[in-house]
């Protein structure tokens, strides 16, 4: 088996939850975009170039007369601003990856970020190849999902209502894993509590950025105590 095949085979099982989630939220995007009059080529183009779940859902609304381009940029910025913080955990990992790091940065969705930061890489594969394979496979699922959605979304053979819970379940599982590691318990709880408080205060559409700011404030204020607990490698 060639080395590349071996890496893909090793990485694939870790991506299956994303496969399930992305196929179906990708399908939902494809259906919405098709309803606006954009065929599968447009859906594929958008999923290849943009690659953002909630960002693309929102973007579907931009394709009507009268939307200013400034609005397009500002609204996209608002829904994706949380991504600003993701790279902070992956600086050294990506910076040593050569040209591939540009793709790694581009493809840093919530799901890919979570997998990259929490998956224990098997010892017998090249670390960079493994991370790259996860990133590429995830986007592949997303593109395939959006194409299926725009071609056949309305003819789905079964009732798929609720299938997007796969994404929630993926994050719940990763959260459980975090809570089982002593030095990650407090940061994880900080995230949940800050998120919950900001959700109550700012509402479902605007709470993510305030949550991130609050989380960073608390983590900085608690630095002495948290550092004391020997926060070892959270991100590989």
């Amino acid at each position: 088996m060639s080395d590349r095949k071996r890496v893909i085979k090793k990485a694939f099982p870790y991506t299956i939850p994303v496969l399930a989630g992305y196929l179906f939220i990708g399908i939902a995007f494809g259906v919405m975009f098709a309803e606006k009059g954009y065929n599968f080529l447009w859906a594929a183009l958008m999923s290849l170039l943009v690659y953002a779940g909630s960002g693309q859902y929102l973007a579907v609304n931009f394709f009507v007369p009268g939307y200013s381009l400034v609005q397009v940029v500002l609204l996209t910025l608002m829904v994706n601003v949380r991504h600003i913080f993701y790279g902070v955990s992956l600086l050294s990992e990506f910076n040593r990856m050569g040209k591939r790091r540009f793709y790694m940065i581009f493809s840093l969705t919530d799901e890919t970020y979570s997998l990259l930061c929490t998956t224990k890489i098997p010892d017998d594969v090249n670390q960079d190849d493994f991370l790259f394979a996860i990133a590429v496979m995830n986007q592949l699922y997303w593109v395939i999902g959006s194409v299926i959605g725009s071609l056949a979304g309305t003819f789905l053979p079964f009732n798929s209502e609720g299938i997007d819970f796969a994404m929630t379940a993926l994050f719940v599982v990763i959260l459980v894993e975090q809570l089982l590691v002593k030095e990650r318990q407090i940061p994880a709880l900080v995230g949940i509590v800050a998120g919950f408080i900001c959700l109550q205060v700012f509402g479902g559409n605007q709470f993510v950025f305030p949550s991130m700011v609050l989380i960073i404030l608390i983590l900085l204020l608690g630095k002495k105590k948290l550092n004391h607990e020997e926060v070892t490698k959270t991100c590989q």
Partner: protein, 110 residues
């Protein structure tokens, strides 16, 4: 299509560039070869569990606690996913069972 092809392409490019901009900012601030300050290294480590916690809240943000199903399907499915995971530590089993349970609850029960 409600607007022209050119304008559609411009919108897609703008959304793509804006999204990429949000993802690339840390790498512009701390480029290859530049030493990463201690405080940023610390944040990089503790941010991941915190972001995952926040993302769980984010996924559940639409849950209707005071109307509809009162968040019961979400509660049951999240609890099942977490407990199954604590028990077996098998990602696919936990996620698969949680999702199927949720689909059953929203389609058949509630």
């Amino acid at each position: 299509m409600p607007i022209s092809i050119t304008r559609s392409l411009i919108i897609i490019l703008l959304v793509a560039l804006t999204t990429f901009a949000t993802r690339v900012i840390p790498f512009l601030l701390f480029p290859k070869g530049k030493e990463i300050p201690k405080i940023i290294q610390y944040l990089g480590k503790v941010l991941t569990p915190a972001i995952i916690g926040m993302l769980v809240v984010y996924c559940l943000r639409g849950t209707q606690v005071f109307s509809g199903s009162h968040g019961v399907p979400e509660l049951i499915a999240v609890a099942l996913t977490a407990l199954l995971h604590l028990w077996k530590r098998n990602n696919l089993l936990s996620i698969g069972a949680g999702t199927i349970c949720y689909m059953f609850l929203v389609q058949v029960v509630f």
